[in-house]
């Protein structure tokens, strides 16, 4: 049956029918429909199951506050669970399924929970499922997990893309209702840069449905005019379908724009996340209607009164043919009028108040509707669809035998309105309880403040508690600093609300166990009262114990009712109970939008050396090192990685190897105080280094631990070049700046990280000099450029800095050329080196060669607990210097303990390779019954040069125990190894010195 009315519907286009599927059935809706209005039009009132009891659930609301109508939308790589039908704009071919049931929506096995509801009150799981001990994890938890959860996760990667953008505005107006537009006009006319965000696809908010007259016009016409004016102003940006998700410190507002949800076929990004810096935020987010708590208020067909009139007026859909209205305020009478105007029956209005006089009440009475004063709903008839209500007096305990039943298929309920203060509260804005209006409203004296201590947000219109149209516009005009006259409005006068938290007031426990507060999470009045009884008195305890307000609607409908019920149970005023903390986002936002474009190849920037492409073309097997990728090795066809590494090592040691060393950090330190600065940063003395010389340096944290190492070169009188590890470049540069800016701010030193300005190639092996001499241009002989010196010149026509340093133990020149020449230089070296069998080698060969030489590697021999002394690097620490970073720390008792673990070489007795991370146990156990230990392996490799496994490790008093055999545990085995000198190859350093 179609529930579409034959006339009306301000948002729909009857000329544009749209087909969509719900639970495999094709249905028809209209352009302008939401999925919810289209479902209602197709008489689908029940659309889901609740979380805990799997009770039938119908559409309750018409917007973001909807707790029940959650569906799985789309298919395959575009499937998305837990979508609110009320905020899905219908499009051709939309596919939706209902959730949380098995085998189907109408018949759900999980509904046994509902029959057992009496045994499953709030928090029952904290009191049960404890025996036997293993049963929770093995038995009960898996069952609970399966029955919980709502929709299912997508089963494949997302086909859509997402975008992020920045925006800046003096004034950001959140909410495109009449208050928001008024504020925008006021701000824009004052010359401010204004950005207006509206979460729906329409301007105007509630006013066009709720009626009234603004500046002599109907709301629709006034809104159209206002938007037209704003669109013409250059200082104004209007953005529909863009929700302010959260307000963060310093006016940082997150906007969530649903760019293509309503048109998924386009190639636009699906969502766009705006990071907005707002001078000031006007929160004109309106108010949300509260449900009433009567027994059976969760049965499909019971809806918010405002939603009922939204469906009638906006989408020409009749949620029911006979609608009973139940209310404690005048606003719900607007629903009665809207229904009557649409030709629908309103058998009665139940008003909990007495002596009703308001304009709207009179208007409804004048249309011949029964308005019953002091009345309430005692219970409802119907289970998966409403059939009627049994009425009683609000001040009674419930129905009696005499009670009247009114047949109806819809109840429109209104418990009053709550301002939407979420954004105000996200960043610390306080609320005050307005007892006469029965609502929390923003406390203008305690706003969220920005960096300057001034208010960074202000609420406007209904969001600040100004519910009447005239008040609302006045308030909004003022909030945006408007001068002159605000728009003038006329609307019916309304009588005050009378708060009703439980209906009827004296309902017994059985009825209270059927009054839903949180529809999605199945939290009832009785649950909140149970929490209070059991001592979960803080509103946060109640929330957590009952799960009230923790559903996907974040308690938009349930929070205020729940805390009022709690206050009553604790016999304290509402403000003494207070609210829970409002947390972003206002409504859930997609992870895709939060990640933006940073996925796949763009997940993190990939840093490439100038030779990156060459490595790739030559079959490099990559290793991620920080944001770089470095070749681990270059396997040839048929080679394992291990084979390739061995080949690269041997080729280099025998003749010639090339390493792309461009990723090594290159920080230039310059200035009159540069030497003094480096003397503090490094453990050694750098100020005395002659120009043209290189010196190995160690850097420690202020706690004494070794954090980085590298060769320092004195380029000129006041300029040093500090090499760092690849991973350390940015960290060390920041470390230097930290000390310079925070501690030694008056020292005259500049630092610059030039890592990417240079391509650096290590030319390594006995034929290294021959190769470079072939290029010509510089004298690289032993005498002209001895070990640990540097020269600048032109090599093969390229400007170059040549450092004679070696991390492999071979004759080695590290040549730095401008990055733009890097690839050409590398290719030249490869070509000219062919006669020497030149071999590019990767990081693993580098590691093997440095280990053969007993050189340490930051991150292997160090781990944040190791000081240079542990690594026998005392020679690189100046004894004369008064101070350097870490000096004092290294003098502390534990650091000077002779029992510290110190670096040694290790050799297995059978020549095998010690496993990574092996640990040497010692005799006995410590106070915590752990095995005592005496050392560990820090680096371990197969050495192709020596044809056996070699390792380094830290061992208690290691250097004093040369020749001793100790046992290492790894992979469940015991492996014996002998303590030896850490230098395995060319102990006297003759090869690097030729």
């Amino acid at each position: 049956m179609s529930l579409r009315l034959t006339t009306g519907g301000r948002l729909i286009d009857r000329a544009k029918p749209l087909s969509f599927r719900f639970n495999q059935r094709w249905m028809t809706g209209l352009a302008g429909d939401t999925l919810a209005s289209a479902l209602l039009a197709n008489d689908r009132v029940m659309v889901g199951r609740s979380f805990k009891y799997h009770r039938p659930r119908g559409i309750v609301a018409s917007g973001v506050e909807e707790p029940n109508a959650l569906v799985g939308l789309g298919e395959g790589a575009r499937f998305e669970p837990d979508q609110r039908a009320t905020t899905i704009e219908l499009f051709e071919g939309a596919t939706a399924i209902s959730q949380n049931h098995w085998p189907n929506l109408a018949f759900d096995v999980g509904e046994v929970n509902s029959w057992l509801a009496r045994f499953l009150p709030a928090g029952f799981y904290y009191k049960t499922f404890m025996a036997p001990q293993a049963a929770w994890a093995r038995l009960f938890e898996p069952i609970i997990r399966r029955s919980a959860g709502l929709g299912r996760a997508p089963d494949r990667a997302d086909a859509d893309r997402y975008e992020q953008a920045y925006a800046f505005a003096d004034l950001v107006v959140v909410g495109g209702g009449v208050a928001g537009l008024t504020a925008a006009l006021a701000g824009a006319r004052a010359g401010q840069r204004v950005l207006v965000l509206e979460q729906t696809a329409h301007w105007g908010g509630r006013a066009p449905v709720d009626g009234g007259v603004i500046d002599g016009l109907g709301p629709d016409a006034w809104v159209r005019n206002a938007v037209k004016v704003l669109e013409k102003m250059e200082n104004v940006t209007l953005r529909l379908r863009c929700m302010a998700a959260g307000l963060h410190d310093h006016g940082h507002l997150i906007g969530y724009e649903r760019v293509a949800d309503h048109a998924p076929q386009t190639d636009a990004p699906r969502h766009r996340l705006w990071r907005i810096r707002a001078g000031k935020v006007v929160v004109a987010t309106g108010a949300l209607e509260r449900p009433l708590s009567f027994a059976g208020n969760d049965v499909p067909g019971v809806m918010l009164a405002s939603a009922v009139r939204d469906y009638v007026v906006n989408w020409a859909v009749a949620p029911g043919q006979r609608t009973v209205i139940v209310t404690n305020n005048d606003d719900a009478y607007r629903t009665a009028l809207a229904l009557l105007d649409a030709g629908l029956a309103v058998p009665a209005v139940l008003d909990t108040r007495e002596s009703l006089t308001g304009d709207l009440v009179q208007a409804v009475r004048a249309r011949g509707v029964r308005v019953l004063e002091g009345k309430a709903i005692a219970r409802v008839r119907g289970r998966s669809r409403l059939r009627g209500v049994v009425i009683c007096r609000q001040d009674s305990a419930g129905a009696t035998a005499m009670s009247e039943t009114i047949a109806c298929d819809c109840v429109a309920m209104s418990g009053g309105w709550s301002p939407v203060v979420h954004l105000w509260s996200h960043c610390g804005g306080k609320l005050l309880w307005d007892a006469s209006a029965a609502m929390f409203r923003p406390d203008p004296t305690c706003p969220p403040t920005g960096a300057d201590g001034a208010a960074m947000a202000v609420c406007a219109g209904a969001a600040s508690g100004a519910l009447g149209l005239a008040d609302c516009l006045r308030d909004a005009h003022k909030a945006a600093g408007g001068t002159g006259k605000p728009p003038q409005a006329k609307a019916p006068t309304e009588a005050p609300i009378a708060p009703v938290w439980v209906m009827p007031a004296k309902a017994g426990i059985e009825a209270r166990s059927k009054m839903w507060l949180d529809f999605q999470n199945d939290v009832k009045v009785s649950d909140v009262q149970l929490a209070a009884r059991e001592g979960y008195e803080s509103v946060e305890h109640t929330k957590r114990y009952t799960t009230l307000g923790m559903a996907t609607d974040q308690g938009k409908l349930s929070n205020i009712n729940g805390l009022a019920v709690l206050s009553e149970a604790l016999d304290q005023p509402v403000p003494a109970t207070g609210t829970t903390t409002f947390r972003p986002p206002y409504t859930p936002i997609s992870f895709g939008a939060i990640a933006g474009e940073a996925r796949g190849d763009l997940f993190q920037p990939l840093r490439r050396t100038p030779m990156h492409g060459w490595h790739e073309a030559h079959g490099a097997h990559w290793e991620p090192v920080g944001l770089w990728r470095r070749p681990y090795c270059y396997p040839r066809s048929g080679e394992t990685h291990r084979d390739a590494v061995n080949r690269e090592v041997l080729a280099t040691r025998r003749s010639l190897g090339l390493l792309d060393a461009s990723t090594l950090g290159k920080i230039v330190v310059k200035g009159p105080d540069a030497g003094r600065f480096l003397d503090m940063i490094y453990t050694g003395v750098m100020s005395s280094l002659p120009v043209g010389k290189c010196r190995y340096g160690l850097m420690c944290s202020d706690n004494g631990f070794l954090i980085d190492d590298g060769v320092v070169v004195r380029l000129s009188d006041d300029t040093w070049l500090c090499h760092t590890t690849t991973g350390g470049a940015d960290r060390i540069h920041a470390h230097m700046e930290d000390w310079l800016q925070c501690e030694w701010w008056d020292w005259k030193v500049h630092t610059a990280n030039l890592t990417e300005q240079f391509a650096q190639v290590a030319v390594v092996g006995p034929n290294a000099r021959k190769l470079l001499e072939k290029l010509g241009g510089m004298d690289l002989s032993k005498d002209a450029l001895p070990f640990m010196t540097f020269a600048e010149g032109t090599l093969g026509g390229v400007r170059a800095r040549v450092f004679r340093i070696s991390f492999s133990g071979e004759l080695c020149y590290e040549v730095a050329v401008p990055a733009s020449q890097g690839l050409a230089f590398w290719e030249r070296l490869m070509a000219e080196g062919a006669e020497f069998g030149v071999t590019p080698y990767g990081t693993e060969a580098l590691h093997v060669m440095r280990a053969e030489k007993g050189f340490i590697m930051i991150g292997d021999e160090t781990d944040g607990t190791v000081i240079p002394q542990d690594l026998n690097l005392g020679w690189a620490i100046s004894k004369k210097k008064v101070d350097y970073l870490g000096k004092r720390a290294q003098e502390r008792a534990h650091m000077a303990d002779p029992d510290r673990w110190r670096l040694v070489g290790l050799e297995t007795l059978d020549g095998s390779v010690l496993p990574d991370g092996a640990i040497a146990a010692d005799a006995g156990y410590n106070g915590n019954r752990q095995r005592n230990t005496q050392g560990r392996v820090t680096s371990t490799y197969y050495s192709p040069t020596l044809g056996r496994g070699i390792a380094m490790g830290l061992v208690r008093r290691g250097p004093e125990r040369m020749g001793e055999v100790i046992r290492f545990t790894a992979e469940g085995r015991l492996i014996a190894a002998r303590i030896v000198d850490q230098v395995f190859y060319d102990k006297d350093g003759e090869k690097q010195n030729v």
Partner: protein, 415 residues
């Protein structure tokens, strides 16, 4: 204390649950207690509980400025593991983990300890070596962990993206008996048990001063008036330096915001806890179905229980990269807590310069998992005045001596 059981629930159902008694009393402060514990977070409550259970000291008050469990205990992502590298940490966290195994029964409150298995992904060669080292260390420490290859990772977490592209998964450090528990229930279960032993939990009672004479603590001033005590245990996480200042000493602690977030609930899609330290994010799924997600701390000190948006983005990016199917799920809620960070990222359980005053803090981003063990060790320290073997290495003097217990080696993110 009336025992909880399925029979009790059935019995109470007959009177519509109107017969349940309070989980904990709401008493007025007495004039004096033998021991006052400041902070009714998990660590404070557990300290009180084991003082009673292990040492028979029950004239105890736990003083809380807000609602019990409302600090980090009620804000964390509930990861429980003991795969720590350094001996003292492994001992303490493993003690805690093993107490968690039987905690529901011990407290007669279902804390929903769920040893569902925990993976720390290795995505660089460096991490591979680090985790292999941890496995070897754990073996000698009596902590059960294993190194597993990418195939086994994929089998445990079918939604994971093993191949990268950016940081392919090379394997993982796997602790089969690691997992999660329900954070509120841990606080509530301890509170109920403490109250049943006659201890007073004083909520909405803020400590404003620490009174002392002759170098020893005498009592505290609170928003509910002065209270005397024999011994004082300060267990207030992010506010430790504030309390220390009241007591007249300083702590090597920095307080920073750490954030977490959850998705909307969905049917089970990930059965284990996964931590990815290279990309900086971790994830598990709560029994309700929400994906529980966290990342790193803000880089600056502050006391607001909010954090910077940039970290949310970083964390979510990391996890979409690792679990592409979550891209279309939605963030339901984000929040922050103030974590107490020490220089070596290890906790402090220690005597203090003030006599009879003890501190337990510095748990930083990872103290939920430690609650039972920390309470156990702290109770011993408070009761005897000297640390037992579990707490011995965590004294304040380690900072002076350089005897750090640095775990950052093993985990970039230490939750």
């Amino acid at each position: 204390m009336k025992r909880y059981s399925v029979f009790a629930v059935a019995r109470e159902a007959m009177n519509w649950h109107t017969g349940w008694e309070r989980a904990w009393r709401s008493p007025e402060p007495r004039r004096r207690y033998d021991v006052i514990v400041v902070g009714a977070g998990g660590h404070g409550l557990a300290t009180a509980y084991y003082l009673g259970r292990n040492f028979g000291i029950t004239n105890v008050a736990v003083v809380e400025k807000g609602w019990l469990g409302g600090g980090n205990t009620g804000r964390n992502t509930t990861i429980i593991r003991s795969n720590y590298l350094q001996d003292p940490s492994a001992a303490l966290y493993e003690k805690a983990r093993s107490l968690y195994e039987g905690l529901s029964q011990d407290l007669n409150y279902n804390v929903m300890f769920s040893p569902r298995g925990l993976l720390m992904l290795a995505q660089t060669e460096h991490e591979v070596r680090g985790y292999k080292r941890t496995v070897n260390a754990n073996l000698l420490q009596g902590v059960e962990t294993r190194w597993i290859g990418p195939g086994e990772v994929k089998a445990l977490v079918p939604i994971i993206n093993i191949d990268g592209p950016r940081y392919p998964i090379l394997g993982a450090l796997y602790q089969e008996r690691g997992g999660t528990a329900r954070h509120d229930a841990v606080a509530w279960g301890y509170a109920r048990a403490c109250s049943a032993m006659g201890m007073d939990i004083l909520q909405n009672c803020e400590v404003t001063a620490v009174r002392q004479a002759n170098g020893a603590v005498q009592g505290i001033d609170t928003s509910k008036g002065p209270i005397d005590c024999g011994k004082l245990a300060i267990v207030v996480a992010g506010h430790s330096s504030v309390l220390a200042e009241m007591a007249g000493f300083r702590l090597p602690i920095e307080s920073m915001a750490l954030q977490a977030l959850v998705s909307e609930p969905i049917k089970p899609c990930i059965d284990v806890v996964v931590m990815a330290n290279t990309v900086h994010g971790y994830i598990s799924q709560s029994d309700k179905g929400e994906l529980v997600i966290g990342g790193g701390t803000d880089g600056f000190v502050n006391y607001t229980q909010r954090g910077s948006w940039q970290h949310i983005e970083e964390t979510v990016r990391a996890l979409i990269e690792t679990f592409p199917v979550i891209s279309r799920l939605k963030m339901l809620r984000q929040w922050g807590g103030i974590v107490d960070m020490t220089g070596d990222r290890s906790p402090i359980l220690s005597k203090t310069p003030l006599g009879n005053c003890f501190v337990n803090c510095g748990w930083g981003t990872g103290g939920f998992k430690a609650i039972p063990g920390s309470g156990w060790a702290m109770a011993e320290l408070v009761a005897k005045g000297e640390p037992g073997p579990l707490a011995a290495d965590f004294g304040l003097d380690r900072f002076r001596e350089g005897r750090f217990i640095d775990e950052s080696v093993a985990a970039g993110v230490a939750h």
